[in-house]
Symmetry: C2
Subunit: 196 residues, 2 copies
DNA sequence: CACCGGTACGTACCGTCGGTATGTGAGATA
DNA sequence: TATCTCACATACCGACGGTACGTACCGGTG
């Protein structure tokens, strides 16, 4: 049953997460104080500690929100019908674009592995971007487009390359041009894996 | 002239850096307190703040020490005479092994980009591992081994892939096996870029 | 050798921040 | 309407990064 109190509560929680995403993106995890988070959300630390067990948990909530919203747009691209190769490359391009959004870049790519610990980050990513990427690679193998190889490993390498590529674009003086170059380079790598 | 005071001072500084490398490796940047660092070095915070402007500066000193010591062994491999292809692949293997050392993995690969900021990290890496990798890629292009392509970009992608590969190995339940798989996968990627 | 200046620290302290304990009032329940 | 409960607010604590200041000792000078 949907009571009024539950709505208020959910709204408060959402405000906290939104505030957290915003500040973590701008100033990073260590540079963000909880006092500031609650101030922006127009609540107090009491509210924060009622909804979350601490700063780490708040970060994970922010992480989940950014990932959940990201995965929606990406899934649409990757699950589209049609040629496997076309689908996969479209997915790559979509992911690179996603990595360029400040929230994704800062929270998911840069901060999360350190804040959550690489192990925990890896585990969480199974259900999000990385899981999607691995699925895409698996599809290519199944479709016979690329050589037989350990999908898990290759997906890891690609994931790392994509993240590095996105960071390069983001800090470039000419993002447009760098973006095209990164895209071409990644496609070139994939072409290299393609069966003749 | 090498005075006694200068030697004592240098020794103190070195003890601080060693202590910092050790603790940053075990507990990460945020998880390491300066009180603990100075305790291990058997000095006080006064000494620390005499030698370094703050925690960040201490981290950069630790970063530089780990990188400087790493670069020596790697340079030997990459500057060896002989076939460019052989040299490059040997360099890749050497780098992956280096990434498996806890100090390198934690401080250089995982923490540094967040603690120093990606921009500053990128700048520092120019003189260390990344600079070496780019040189290796450039050599392959010059030797006509791989296709013409933006060396900078390709080096970035490879760097990301290698880091991800190393992290995967490090957290694997069977590092030996995963290590071989990662090596093979990376060589496969490089083979794909090779001219026919 | 006496003196002095500066370097290389040690000590005491401050502000900030993550986290906790407890109070409280609005809304659900009977 | 009385009570209970939950969703916060308030007040406070300890840890930690950083600063201000005191001091001992080394090295040069007359």
């Amino acid at each position: 049953m949907r009571t009024r109190r539950a709505e208020y509560s959910e709204s408060t929680r959402q405000a906290l997460v939104d505030s957290a995403v915003d500040l973590f993106t701008k100033r990073g995890y260590a540079g963000t104080s909880l006092d500031e988070v609650v101030k922006r959300a127009r609540v107090t630390k009491g509210a924060l500690y009622h909804h979350f067990s601490g700063k780490q948990a708040l970060f994970e909530a922010a992480f989940t929100q950014v990932e959940t919203r990201s995965i929606e747009s990406l899934t649409a691209v990757v699950t589209a019908e049609g040629d496997a190769w076309e689908t996969a490359t479209a997915g790559l391009r979509a992911y690179v674009r996603k990595c360029l959004e400040p929230e994704y870049q800062r929270i998911i790519v840069h901060e999360a592995p350190v804040v959550m610990g690489w192990e925990r980050w890896r585990e969480a990513e199974e259900h999000f971007s990385f899981g999607l990427l691995r699925t895409a690679v698996q599809l290519l193998v199944d479709a016979g487009e690329i050589d037989e190889l350990p999908v898990e490993i290759m997906a890891r390498l690609l994931f790392g390359a994509l993240s590095a590529g996105a960071s390069t674009i983001a800090s470039s003086s000419d993002p447009k041009r760098t973006g095209r170059e990164v895209e071409r380079a990644i496609l070139r790598v994939l072409e290299g894996l393609r069966k003749k």
